[in-house]
Symmetry: C2
Subunit: 359 residues, 2 copies
């Protein structure tokens, strides 16, 4: 592993179990029946552990969207032409995409990264141009990229994640754009979870049953041709990944090294998280799953990461849309733990808590 | 029905099917694979119909929390003492409750209403004091309130809902506080859906199995003793309801009469919605269910209203917490429909949409 990357990974602090314990005690004293905030309670306790504060305060919301192309599209694995990746990056920059409409409304800072889009993109103040390669190579015929490129994805992504995290205590969300990128994500998921391509491969953006069978075959071929070393996440990224996937894995590591919590979006971000958590297992405690994507392989990723998604709205768009939507809820969970009065402070009678703890 | 109430109900416009149709066409042309925004798409189309605009814009978020007491608590149906209702109202006003922590963070205007709390409450600029009665009477022995009081709940609630709606195009959420109020809500749900108390009655704030059996018996007794006219929602409210439930039903009608969309919280708001939609069936098209409460009867209410909840976070607190959390998501759905570019506008290739429509 590259030395800068090793430093980043080494800088990711474990969540603080002592703070989480005290946060749980505080949570139980707040003016509400114990457990009545449901999933928000566990979210808030984890945020306490991440930020090292029993009164966690989220100080900002940032989203990094990484874009990249995939020459495996020439195998007919997707419905849209490859040019759409670049067109959608321009749409992000113009504010016309779903995620940018949401981000404006929900006050999320957006960073767009050209990790490796095929077509050249114009310079734009809102675009970070890494262009680690002109689209990942066709993984059904050979590796997506060199190991050096894979490391560069992670290092550059980590720098971007660190900037997005700012001074910490922020929520950093990840999103993707890349026509064809459910195919490498299915391959990564198969390689790193040990599940078969038949279950890690889904319909992506509109495959019928025959097309799905074909796509599954391409994923299987990518794994057979490249034979990635499943004990080496960087090798998996290089062999069957993609530039935006590598950058997103780096973003997670970088943001975590600056004490942020990370909200991952759907299947592509999930595949990136599989890579990132292999490089740094304790990163997993800092991850929140924004939503459960309708893409089949995503549930396998979530199970493997041990994450329960915040939302389940039958979405399958990517871009970070599912992550952005979950941010206000995660923030509200923190606000409850930080700002609610305890029974003592509020002078509210607490004779019910013993009994209600029995539910 | 009181004439002011009749005017309010008469002022609730049906949602516009023509606008919804055009919104659906616009939704299909936005720069994303068709259907990929999942549940957000149907939410956005309904908002278009409610606001009469294919580019619906939500202009603000308001929450009305109504509080009331229930003398049925003397039958041992709940874990907390009756005083907690008043104590929690003070906690709302001091900003120490879960819903007020969330509302601050999510920028929601909160109005707190004393619909009928037992203990007197001090004057406070943030509190609307209706005090229609000193707590609802014990419904296991007779009616909760007079028919006149029930009508007053609806009329006063509607005025508050109209104020909360402002000039319209707002989201108005409803929340409740009332120790013991799952018991009348179970009775209302049984009366208005035809389901038996055994399925409409849940554990509320911490009942064990024996206590749940006892509580179910109390609900059944309330229905037997009062024999509400199930074709007359005002009679149901008067016989087995509560002051805060009536006020919330009124809030929904009032907000709807000012062209707002309404986000209902959990079981208590759901029982109020059953009453309000009986008085004005077309109100139902303006309702969104913020979440699925862990309280058993709530799912029956949602089925009856034909509503799919936005969130499912295992919460069972009330106060409006589940409604408030859903507001940013509903707003984001509107923002996507209103602000996203179409394929033509953005110059994005749309050759995939035909194929992806087959999924």
């Amino acid at each position: 592993m590259n030395s800068e990357l090793r430093t980043t990974v080494g800088g990711i602090a474990p969540v603080d179990p002592e703070v989480m314990k005290r946060a749980r005690i505080r949570q139980a004293r707040l003016t509400k029946p114990p457990g009545s905030l449901g999933r928000l309670e566990e979210i808030s306790v984890r945020l306490a552990g991440i930020f090292g504060n029993t009164r966690p305060e989220v100080t900002g919301r940032a989203l990094v969207i990484a874009a990249g192309d995939h020459d495996v599209v020439r195998q007919g694995v997707t419905a849209y032409p490859q040019d759409v990746t670049a067109q959608m990056v321009l749409n992000f920059l113009a504010g016309g995409a779903a995620v940018t409409a949401m981000a404006r409304r929900l006050d999320v800072d957006v960073t767009v990264v050209d990790a490796g889009v095929k077509s050249p993109l114009p310079e734009h103040p809102g675009l970070i141009s890494l262009r680690i390669g002109p689209g990942a190579a066709d993984i059904s015929e050979g590796p997506a990229m060199s190991r050096e490129q894979a490391e560069r994805c992670l290092v550059e992504g980590a720098r971007i994640g660190q900037r997005a995290a700012g001074a910490g205590s922020r929520l950093v969300a990840t999103g993707d754009m890349g026509i064809g990128n459910t195919t490498p994500s299915s391959a990564i998921t198969a390689a790193l979870t040990g599940m078969r391509p038949e279950v890690t491969t889904g319909r992506g953006t509109g495959r019928n049953s025959d097309q799905l069978r074909h796509k599954t075959g391409i994923v299987a071929r990518a794994l057979a041709v490249n034979d990635p070393d499943t004990d080496d996440a960087i090798d998996v990224l290089a062999k069957v990944g993609g530039f935006e996937i590598g950058v997103l894995a780096g973003v997670m590591l970088g943001a975590a090294s600056r004490s942020s919590a990370i909200v991952i979006d759907g299947f592509i971000s999930g595949a990136a998280a599989l890579i990132a958590t292999r490089l740094c297992p304790q990163l997993g405690d800092r991850l929140f799953a924004g939503h459960r994507s309708a893409e089949a392989g995503h549930s396998i990723v979530l199970d493997h990461l041990g994450l329960e998604p915040v939302l389940d709205l039958d979405m399958r768009l990517g871009e970070g849309t599912g992550a952005v939507l979950a941010m206000p809820i995660i923030e509200a969970a923190a606000a409850c733990l930080s700002e609610m009065a305890t029974f003592d402070e509020a002078g509210v009678s607490d004779t019910g808590s013993e009994k209600s703890a029995t539910t």
